[in-house]
Symmetry: C2
Subunit: 316 residues, 2 copies
DNA sequence: TTTCCTTTTGAAATTAATTTCATATTGCGC
DNA sequence: GCGCAATATGAAATTAATTTCAAAAGGAAA
């Protein structure tokens, strides 16, 4: 590496390349050194730290937590929002506002989106900015979780989101969980329901929340999951619910019989979609870890507080 | 520029690109943004100063002077050497040592090189490191400037250099300046001389010094330029001699009759070659400026002291 | 609204950068 | 010196980045 060992030359090449924005070809012609050699000089200079690239990042703290989350769970990406600046809004709303802004960039033009029910999903969808982007179709990923509280139903969220983006919305006319496996089977075979589920499987993006599995959980409180169901899930170690999937602390999918009684899609069935999961709150730390350990979430969206808790959480 | 205006996204893209060395394609796939858009985001981030590239340059002072020289004279490149560290050697030797090291990189493998006579050229050639590089042919660019002091003759320098690089050396068997134009013409038609001159015109690199034009000038002291010649040149405003060319303060070529009596090549005749000119010394400032203003020098090699003087020199 | 002008966009074309690979070279042991 | 392994090199192939361009979309004025 005769030529490359000359530091003075490395500096000169790098100045021409990085500071004066000359192409490697130009530099090659100027100095009479072959193009590959210029390339190697630049690579060496980078390796040796002669070239320093820094990015002025006002979001270092968020970014750092994102890196940690990505590393810990092998995520495709993470979005951590600074929701400390709460101005009169609830923390969920202020989180959703920021989160929606960021997550919005991850939903490409003309894509189809599947949505889950829940307060987190609702907050984010409400906070989505009515951008110029057009989407194709918004599909609910799970049936109705109650006969009341329509505003957080997947159907409703799909409709709301569709209106924002000039998209069509489909409707899953079924309860989330029924009492018999056989009934669930029959329902899923119904043309109107099968079509929506099939379409859900094919969405480009799935927007979901991560839920706890305890008495306070929304689907328990609203009666979608009965006490016995909850007990059954808990006996299997389930601590998190995401869409139609339940996960134990290790991130293993559990709850076979209940899943079979669910009219909706599991994360496994959504493997063709980019799954964006959002959740915040100290009480959700365990559920979040469980869900992320399943490796089925592509992008996780949260706030700094929750991110810190999740990053520090041990497996057992 | 919807996507591009999002600073958070810009930061994320730049981190992936510059710090994690992911390709734009990968980032595009990861974030679901088109490749050209990623490219634009990076460009914008650079423009807005979000990405900062700095080069740790131990030679800042030299580099800065090089930039000034390049800008002032429109040079292709400049090499400024820090020759303050003189350890027993003459300043010319210590300059030549460093200068040779740098200039060596500008002489590509297998090229042919033309050399001028003079102390500066000699010092540099003596200081050239016997590298692994092979050169084709070394050619003197001008005839003998005296019957003594052979060691600084172009012929000798060509021979010395040829030995260093395993190249052939040619010999220009003629005096530098003769007393009659007709004689010069006849000589230049001689097969043995014409061939060498023709070959000089075709060299890839020309290594030359920049000389003063006064009583102290080497070619005057050694008698190659007679007192009358010097007077004639000075009456034309000539202040610099480079190879067979003479320049006035404005960088205009002068000395037609004397040039016609010279057996050697002018810088104009060397326009196919990359001309590397070296010179140091306070007393040469004026000559250097004149030579560089001619726009015929591609690369100028000097030391920091001289560079400072030259940079500050006004035209009149 | 409708029109026109400006801006934005991604596909494709172009250009640039990097890697591969066969060749050449050096330094080292014999 | 001679051969061998390790390294270095540039031409060509590959891959990556950027620009061009035509189409689409937004926004301002009528």
């Amino acid at each position: 590496m005769g030529t490359i060992r000359n530091k003075r030359l490395m500096v000169k090449v790098c100045e021409l390349y990085f500071l004066q924005n000359k192409s490697q070809k130009e530099i090659s012609a100027l100095l009479g050194i072959s193009r590959p050699q210029i390339c190697r000089i630049i690579t060496t200079a980078k390796d040796e730290g002669i070239v320093q690239i820094s990015i002025s990042n006002p979001y270092v703290r968020e970014t750092e937590l994102e890196h940690l989350l990505i590393q810990k769970f092998g995520l495709r990406d993470a979005l951590v929002v600074d929701s400390t600046s709460i101005d009169g809004e609830s923390s969920l709303q202020s989180f959703a506002k920021e989160a929606a802004k960021l997550a919005g960039d991850y939903i490409p033009q003309d894509s189809s989106v599947g949505v889950m029910s829940g307060y987190t999903a609702k907050a984010m969808i409400d906070a989505l900015e009515p951008s110029s982007k057009k989407l194709k179709l918004i599909v609910p990923l799970i049936g109705g979780i109650s006969t009341t509280n329509m505003s957080i139903h997947a159907d409703t969220l799909a409709l709301n989101m569709a209106m924002l983006y000039g998209a069509d919305a489909w409707n899953l006319n079924a309860p989330a969980v029924v009492s018999e496996v056989s009934l669930a089977k029959s329902l899923k075979k119904e043309e109107a329901i099968a079509r929506v589920l099939e379409c859900g499987r094919k969405t480009d993006i799935a927007l979901v929340g991560i839920g706890n599995l305890n008495e306070e959980a929304t689907n328990v409180r609203l009666g979608s999951l009965k006490k016995e169901d909850l007990a059954q899930l808990q006996s299997q170690g389930a601590v998190a619910s995401v869409c139609g999937s339940y996960f134990d602390r290790e991130g293993r999918e559990v709850g076979g019989e209940i899943t079979a009684r669910t009219i909706g899609l599991t994360l496994g069935e959504l493997r063709r979609s980019k799954i964006i999961a959002a959740a915040i709150g100290d009480e959700k730390t365990e559920a979040i870890c469980a869900a992320l350990r399943s490796k089925k979430v592509d992008i996780f969206v949260t706030d700094m507080e929750t991110a810190k808790k999740v990053v520090l959480e041990d497996k057992i």
